[in-house]
């Protein structure tokens, strides 16, 4: 058997195996996304494709529709975990072996559909989000509906979860090991804690003078427009009109950054915020709280 034929059969076999644990996730108004049966009864998918909290369904490879609930979300890495009564649905084979630049990989979407390419880089190239340091940049096409699906190696093992939503203009995969830590947190605590600050913010441009005083070249930050009473922000003394420039050393350039930078594991930790108050820089120490479930 020659090399190309052998590789071709191996790739087709890998997709066939993946198709047994790849599900359709129906949790947004537009077309659905893809999910992976990661552990018994737990479906991992891309958080940005789970736009609703109720009436979520999962379509199994054999066409059954299962009701699903949100077990937890980790927006910072764009991972959501759904709970389903999965029965004998095949569980994904996940490899802890880290992917390397140049590896041939396949992205699999519901259907099954597939695209192939290479791991082109490790890290999202922007350097400003520490949790993105081990993300896999992909030289392949994530077609509509692929987000949340598995990135597999030529043996059909899951090396990551693909998403086109976490980093704009990038086709990336969250490494399986990173997803595992979130799923483990969920198993251990019974939930994924949602970090909570208690501020409402809007984007604000930083003037040249302020940039100089803050010794930063970032062009925007967020201004506090609301501080919720009895919140971590209130306890830390944050005030309406404060401009938050960074949190824990990570730049905050828009309100979404505040949500993206906070990890579930950080609940209870104290971090330092760089803030401009009345045009003067100051440091604020803040203990990250946990958002309680809304009734």
């Amino acid at each position: 058997m020659d090399t190309l034929l052998a590789l071709s059969s191996e790739l087709a076999g890998a997709v066939e195996r993946a198709a047994r644990y790849v599900v359709g996730v129906n949790a947004r108004r537009r077309f659905g996304s893809t999910g992976v049966h990661w552990q018994q009864g737990l479906i991992v998918t891309a958080d940005h494709t789970v736009e609703v909290d109720e009436d979520i369904t999962v379509t199994t490879p054999d066409g059954r529709t299962l009701a699903a609930t949100v077990a937890g979300r980790d927006p910072a890495i764009d991972v959501a975990v759904l709970r389903v009564d999965a029965g004998d649905l095949t569980i994904a084979e996940i490899t802890a072996e880290p992917a390397r630049v140049g590896h041939i990989v396949l992205a699999v979407g519901r259907g099954p559909r597939a695209s192939w390419g290479l791991v082109s880089a490790i890290g999202d190239g922007r350097r400003r989000r520490p949790e993105a340091a081990d993300w896999l940049s992909l030289d392949l096409t994530l077609y509509p509906g692929f987000s949340g699906g598995p990135l597999i190696d030529a043996r059909g093992r899951v090396v990551g979860m693909t998403t086109s939503g976490a980093a704009r203009h990038f086709q990336i995969a969250i490494p399986a090991g990173t997803v595992d830590r979130t799923v483990d947190e969920l198993m251990r605590r019974g939930r994924i804690p949602r970090p909570y600050l208690g501020v409402g913010t809007q984007t604000v441009r930083l003037s040249e003078g302020l940039r100089e005083r803050l010794q930063t070249d970032q062009r925007s930050a967020v201004i506090v427009v609301d501080v919720q009473p009895d919140s971590p922000a209130a306890a830390a003394g944050l005030m309406v009109g404060d401009v938050i420039v960074s949190l824990g050393g990570t730049r905050i350039t828009e309100p979404g950054d505040l949500r993206a930078v906070l990890r579930p594991q950080q609940v209870g930790e104290t971090v330092t915020l760089m803030v401009a108050r009345g045009g003067e820089p100051r440091e604020v120490r803040l203990t990250i709280g946990e958002r309680t479930r809304r009734s």
Partner: protein, 188 residues
């Protein structure tokens, strides 16, 4: 099983280029075609809009061919080369699988014999309850229409017909065979 399957993409390209032609329709259309037994050429109906066309191979230009059968519904056409027989394409015996490697050869923008490689993305209808198509993750351009989509043994699994959402859509070879049989001029 094919005894001497190509061992690299270059050898594969060579095999396919010998059985792929360029079709020019006196300016009205331009595309690709696949050489079939007894001097026939299979292509898309939308490539051939006249009864006489010009066919170019790797080695020869301006071969004359005439239209034998054309089905706009199936988007397929069968041509007969005038007084010449050429090597013919090998037809795949097994259908394409999702994830398997494929190559397309054709004449995108008149670039003769251009090769592009990728995988089968899906086997699915393009319209609700329609017949299945091969969706391939390969880069096609105008001029590829009518050309072969082939597996790693060089056997043709489909005829490239269009591009949608960045994906190549190829007609499975089984439907092409049905069409050719239905014309009654070629027995398989």
């Amino acid at each position: 099983m094919i005894a001497s399957a190509p061992i690299d993409f270059a050898a594969l390209a060579e095999t396919l280029r010998r059985v792929t032609v360029e079709i020019t329709d006196d300016g009205a259309g331009r595309g690709s075609g696949v050489l079939w037994p007894r001097g026939h050429v299979v292509t898309n109906a939308h490539v051939v809009r006249r009864s006489r066309v010009s066919v170019g191979t790797l080695e020869r230009d301006h071969l004359q061919a005439h239209l034998v059968a054309r089905s706009p519904d199936a988007d397929l056409a069968l041509l007969q080369l005038d007084g010449i027989e050429l090597p013919t394409a090998t037809i795949a015996e097994t259908p394409a699988r999702v994830g398997s490697l494929v190559v397309a050869v054709g004449n995108p923008f008149g670039l003769r014999g251009a090769l592009t490689a990728g995988i089968v993305h899906a086997i699915a209808p393009i319209a609700r309850n329609g017949a299945p198509w091969i969706h391939a993750d390969v880069r096609l351009a105008p001029g590829n229409s009518g050309g072969p989509l082939a597996d790693m043994s060089g056997a043709v699994v489909g005829i490239n017909a269009m591009v949608a959402g960045g994906l190549a859509l190829a007609m499975p070879i089984s439907r092409v065979l049905e069409f050719v049989l239905s014309t009654g001029v070629v027995r398989s």
